[in-house]
Amino acid sequence: MTVTGQKRIRRRTSLDRQHVRTKGMMIGRYVLLLAFSFAYLYPLIYMNIVSLMDVKDLVNPSVTWIPSAIYWGNYTQAVDVLQLEQTVPTTIMIAVVSAILQTVSTGLVGYGLARYEFPGRKLLIVLMVLTFFIPAQITMIPKYLLFSRIGILNSPLCLFLPALFGQGNNSAIFVLIFYQFFDSYPPSLDEAARLDGASDGQIFVKIALPVSVPAVIISVLFSFVWYWNETYITALFCGSEYTTLPMALENFSFTFSKMFPTTPGSLSGQLSEGITMAATNITVLPLVIFYLLLQKQFVESVDKSGIAGT
C-alpha cells in the first residue's frame, strides 16, 4: 500500500521474466522429451502389438492398434524356429568370453600407453585411432583364409583370438577409454609406490586396477552388447557350427519355411508379420532386460570415464 492509499501494480522485474522463462523452458523441455520418447518407443510398441495379432487381424484393415484377441501363437512358433535352447547359450558364451578377453587386452594396452614413455608411443596411438576406421568387411577375407589355414575356422576362436590380442570389435574405442582413464590420475601415486620398492607389475595390480573399475565396467558392458549383436562376421567365421540368436533372426524366414512348409493358397501356417515381430521381440528381449537392469551403469559410467576430456 502506498502513501496515497491506491493499489499499486508491481512492475514486472527481470526476476519475474526469468521465472516465467524458466517455467516455460521446463514445460518445453518435457514436451520435447515426451515427443522424442514417443518416437523412440514407437517401433517397440508396434512390434509388441503386432506380435500379438493373428493373421486374421493382420489382414483386417480396420484393425490397426488393438488386436481383437491376444494371440500367443506367434510366439510359440517363433520360439521353435529360433531354437532358443541352442542359440541363447551360444550367444551368451560368445559375447561374455569375447567381452572379457577384449577388456583384458585393451586395459593392458591402455595402461601401457598412458603410463609409459617409449619410442613409437605416439605412432601407436595414431595407429590405434586409425584402426577404428577399418570396416570389418575389408579384413574379413584374409582373416577367413588365415583362420582356415590354422584350422580354427568354424569355431568361436576366430572371434576370441583377435579379441585377446586387442583386435576385437571396436577395440580401439576401449583402448582409448582406458588410456584416458589411466591418464587421469596423478603419476605421483605410482612414484610413491616405486620409491617404496614396488615393481611395475605390483603397481599395475595394486594401484591401477582398483581405480579402473568404471572403465572396466564400460568395456565389459559395451563389448558384451556389441559382440552379441555382431552378426555378419560371426556368421562368416563360425556360422556353420554355432548359431547365435541374432543369426537365427537373420535366417528366420529361411528356417521357417524349412520347418513349416506351407501349402499354397492357405493363409494359415505362412510366415506372417506377427511371427516376425514376435521373433524380433524375443531376440531383443535378453538385451533389453540386461540393459534395464544395468542401465545406470551404461549411462552414468561414460561420464565417470572422462572420455569427453579432450
Binding site: 584374409p142 583364409l145 569427453a308
Partner: protein
C-alpha cells in the same frame, strides 16, 4: 632403470602390437592385394594373378548392383550424419540438467544402443515399424506436397525428417552420451562469469557452450559415419555374399570393400576439415 621402464612399456602394449600385425595389418595389405587380383581356388591353396585395378573399374562400369546399392547408402551417410549430430546435441542439452524423471528419459534414449548392429533394425524397417507418422494422414504433409514445385523444395527437409526421425534418433544413442559428458566438462566458472556479466542464456549457448562442443561434434560425426556404414544394408550383404562368388571369388568383394572404405574416409576427411578446431581462434576455455 630407464631401460627397464621402456621394456615394461613395450611389454604392456606388445599384445596389441602382435595382434595388430597378425589380425589387422597383414589382412589389410593382403586384402588390398587380393582386390587387385583374379583368384582361383585350388585344393588347399589359392592362385592369384595380378590384374591391376580391373576389379575397381568393373565395380563402376559393369556391375549394376554395386552402384544401385552404393548410392542410397551414400545418401544416407551424407544426410543422416549431420542430423544425428544435431539431434543428439539437442537431446544431450535436454537431458543434461537435473530434473524429475531424467533417469527414465535417459534410459529410453539410450536403449536402442543395445539393439543396433544386428538384424533387429533391418527387420523392424522391413516391417515398417519405424514409420511413426503415416504422412498422408497429416495436414502438414499434404500442405508441403501440394506446394508448387518451386516452393516445395523448402518442405523437403521437413518431410525427410518426419520420415526418418525414428531411425535418426535410434542411431543417436552413444552420441547423446558423448555430448552429455562434454557438456558436463564445461567449466562452470566461465558460465558463472558470463551470467554475472549479463549474458543471456541464448548468448551463453552460442558463444560458450557450442564452441566448446566443436571437437565432440567432430568425434560424434565420425563415429556416426563409421557405425552407419557398418549397419546391415543391401550393400554390405552384397559385399559379403559376393565373397564366395565362383567367378570372382574373394577379389571382387575385396575391391568393393575398399571402394566403400575410401568413400567413408573421404566423408570423414570432409568432416574433419569442417569441424576441426581452428588454432588461430582463441578457445572459449
Amino acid at each position: 632403470m630407464k631401460l627397464r621402464r621402456i621394456r615394461n612399456g613395450y611389454l604392456f602394449v606388445s599384445i596389441w602390437i602382435i595382434g595388430f600385425a597378425v589380425f589387422t595389418l597383414w589382412p589389410l595389405g593382403y586384402s588390398l592385394y587380393l582386390s587387385m587380383c583374379s583368384v582361383r581356388v585350388g585344393t588347399g591353396t589359392i592362385h592369384t594373378t595380378f590384374m591391376g585395378l580391373q576389379n575397381y573399374v568393373d565395380a563402376f562400369r559393369t556391375d549394376v548392383n554395386f552402384i544401385t546399392y552404393l548410392l542410397p547408402k551414400l545418401e544416407e551417410l551424407i544426410v543422416y550424419t549431420p542430423m544425428i549430430v544435431v539431434f543428439s546435441l539437442i537431446c544431450a542439452l535436454l537431458l543434461n540438467k537435473q530434473f524429475r524423471g531424467r533417469t527414465v528419459f535417459r534410459a529410453i534414449f539410450f536403449m536402442p544402443v543395445v539393439m543396433i548392429g544386428g538384424p533387429v533394425i533391418s527387420t523392424l524397417i522391413a516391417n515398417k515399424a519405424q514409420e511413426v507418422i503415416e504422412p498422408n494422414k497429416y495436414m502438414i504433409y499434404r500442405f508441403f506436397t501440394d506446394l508448387p514445385d518451386s516452393i516445395s523444395i523448402v518442405g523437403q527437409p521437413f518431410l525427410y525428417i518426419f520420415d526418418n526421425l525414428v531411425l535418426i534418433l535410434w542411431y543417436s544413442g552413444v552420441q547423446i552420451i558423448l555430448f552429455i559428458a562434454s557438456l558436463q566438462k564445461i567449466d562452470s566458472s566461465i558460465l558463472e562469469a558470463a551470467r554475472i556479466d549479463g549474458a543471456s542464456g541464448w548468448e551463453i549457448f552460442w558463444k560458450i557452450t557450442l564452441p566448446s562442443l566443436r571437437s565432440m561434434a567432430m568425434i560424434t560425426a565420425i563415429y556416426s559415419i563409421v557405425t552407419l556404414a557398418q549397419q546391415d544394408s543391401e550393400l554390405n550383404t552384397y559385399i559379403m555374399t559376393y565373397m564366395f562368388n565362383s567367378e570372382k571369388v574373394y577379389s571382387y568383394s575385396a575391391a568393393m570393400a575398399w571402394i566403400y572404405l575410401l568413400i567413408q574416409l573421404l566423408l570423414i576427411g570432409l568432416v574433419f576439415l569442417i569441424l576441426r578446431e581452428r588454432r588461430d581462434k582463441p578457445a572459449a576455455m
